[in-house]
Subunit: 375 residues, 2 copies
């Protein structure tokens, strides 16, 4: 008998006895409170994917020798469900998350699965708790699919047992009172990722080691750190987000939107991809160049000095975009302009609007908005 | 009130009702079976270290949002307890493991502790199950102290809750029938560690990403992979062990023992340190040079061709030393000599003997052997 594929039709639902009431929007803290149910699916090498279970949110019970505790056999995704004005529930490009999750799994020998089956199961999970999806622009249900190796052994080898689980957290807008542009410290004493490493995958292993440099930047008064790579001081990412710059050539007047190329060290952000695609589609190509190339600290400093640096922002699922107003490098500030009296540049604002419109169903683009259920 | 320090005198022991019988020596598999008890100590930022608990071995119960599952807030140690011929139980340089464990913890913002207190607690844990420590040269009790972040949040930040636990597995000799020299594939498409990363710490994050390259080496017929770094193809580690080479200068006849320097990318192995110290102490300095320097693939190939490469071995707690007989590089073999009719070189054998004698109490060296209890 061959190992079973992930099959949404085998779902077993055990609902909670007393569904909880939604928190008021002002009480929502990112990733701190969760909905009533969770999805769990066990996998073994021998039998493949077991019947999916939707059951009351509750603790995982695991042997202390499980490889997830010792060798970081773990990966995750971050995605959201949105409540539209006409009371539909949408997801934004969930196929991209499924594709990336399988790539992350392959990198650390955890099992792959049919992404469309998992989307069906996540839909069922969301339906179960749909009264807990908050309402309003910027409010959403954050969805955290996670895959961990659960083999009980201290040997370092391919796991033969795994657990896929999905939990959901109702969340508010990243910036409660509109954008807040951040100050970054360019970090060249710590390195996030390396060629031949796994920085392009959403593995747990990429996260814990990044907190210390962020904390050290915070001690020096910065909100986040800007990751650099190599002797050229190439800018790779910002905190846990992809990073974009906008330059304006002072001779030609032409503008350029720049982000680091997917060379194996850069996380393959869904928001990153969406911004590049929308920019190519919506910006006038006579006025704009869209580039996947490295910008290094020397270029950044020089172009800021020449008045050619006109915007900078991070991108990710949590905030969509996070405007940057300053980069500290070797103790000296490089300032990034903002719109007068505002906390972002013009394109940063524009991008947030484009993506928000698609996520909340006000605009259609390609097949990016997927209506998964209705209220 | 300030947060409590780790305090062994607060230990609470809940023994199992029916202690298990030892497995016969031939049934022992590394890290697959565990002793009857485990040690757990909870930590919170607010209250510090809670009372240590020795209790029946059993599952951990953790919220699915615990940071250990998502961001690899986890680190471990590997150490052993040995049963001497006169029925004492010894540990080998446990202070070194405690020091390294605290360094690993600091790197990912998990709490530090007094290492001597944890050694006292581990001693109590071993006493509880001392009838399960196997007898005989090469047999021992493998001890796995582990520290995980347990804060329930999807935010990436410093954990404010943690769990330190220790589990023990009775183990046999790494090579049941004497040494088995291994064939390695030099891996230059994957990188284990890099400057500004965390490859020198015993973090879970360093392990899962290393299994794929090892598997790929295995598919091409090698037992392990040899990790390289940089354009010079410096040799850094072998699998999950430190790596040593022995050269003999064909002009001077002088021998050199070489291992990579602790430059931040190399695990600070206790066995590595012990080998360097013993070699400096026991080998004739007129005949030997002991070097912490990089050897690269070009040097290895050239010196093998000149007949100057005379031994190679990996080192670690599990095997002490693991002799190497071949390194495949770009599809071509570099052969390492072995003693005629044997599976290791002369120094490799010698080193295993030196360390075994100290671990099993047949020889004293410095304060490396610590008698922790008696049978």
């Amino acid at each position: 008998m061959s190992a079973a594929q992930l099959d949404a039709s085998k779902l077993v639902i055990t609902p909670v006895e007393n569904p909880s009431k939604p928190l008021s929007n002002d009480k929502l803290v990112f990733g701190k409170t969760f909905t009533d149910h969770m999805l769990t699916i066990e996998w073994t090498k021998e039998n493949g994917w077991d019947s999916p279970q939707i059951k009351p949110y509750g603790p995982l019970v695991l042997d202390p020798s499980a490889v997830v505790f010792h060798y970081a056999f773990e990966l995750f995704e971050g995605m959201k469900a949105y409540r539209t004005e006409d009371n539909k529930i949408t997801m934004f490009r969930p196929d991209m998350n499924m594709k990336r999750m399988n790539k992350s799994a392959s990198r650390i020998l955890l099992p792959n699965f049919d992404g469309e089956e998992l989307i069906k199961l996540i839909t069922k999970l969301i339906e179960q708790d749909k009264h807990l999806i908050p309402e309003g622009q910027g409010y959403s249900l954050y969805i955290r699919p996670t895959l961990i190796g659960t083999t009980s052994t201290l040997g370092v080898s391919t796991p033969d047992k795994a657990l896929l689980f999905v939990i959901c957290s109702p969340v508010g807008p990243y910036y409660k009172t509109g954008f807040q542009a951040v100050r970054l410290e360019a970090t060249d004493y710590a390195t996030r990722a390396w060629p031949g490493g796994c920085g392009d995958k959403k593995l747990g292993a990429n996260y814990a080691p990044c907190v210390l440099p962020q904390l050290q930047a915070a001690e020096r008064g910065y909100q986040q750190n800007l990751w650099l790579f190599g002797p050229e001081k190439n800018i790779t990412e910002v905190g846990t987000m992809n990073c974009f710059f906008v330059f304006k050539d002072s001779t030609t007047g032409k503008k350029e939107l720049v982000t680091a190329p997917l060379d194996g060290t850069i996380l393959e952000g869904v928001t990153r991809d969406s911004i590049l695609t929308l920019a190519k589609n919506k910006l006038d190509s006579n006025e704009w160049i869209i580039s996947e190339r490295y910008c290094n600290m020397h270029e950044l400093k020089e172009r800021a000095a020449n008045g050619e640096l006109i915007e900078a922002f991070g991108s990710g699922t949590a905030a969509i975009v996070s405007p940057i107003k300053e980069v500290g490098w070797n103790g000296e500030p490089i300032f990034v302009p903002l719109l007068p009296g505002e906390q972002s540049g013009a394109l940063t604002k524009q991008v947030a609007q484009w993506i928000g419109d698609i996520q909340y169903g006000r605009e259609k683009f390609d097949n990016w908005t997927r209506v998964i259920t209705e209220l």
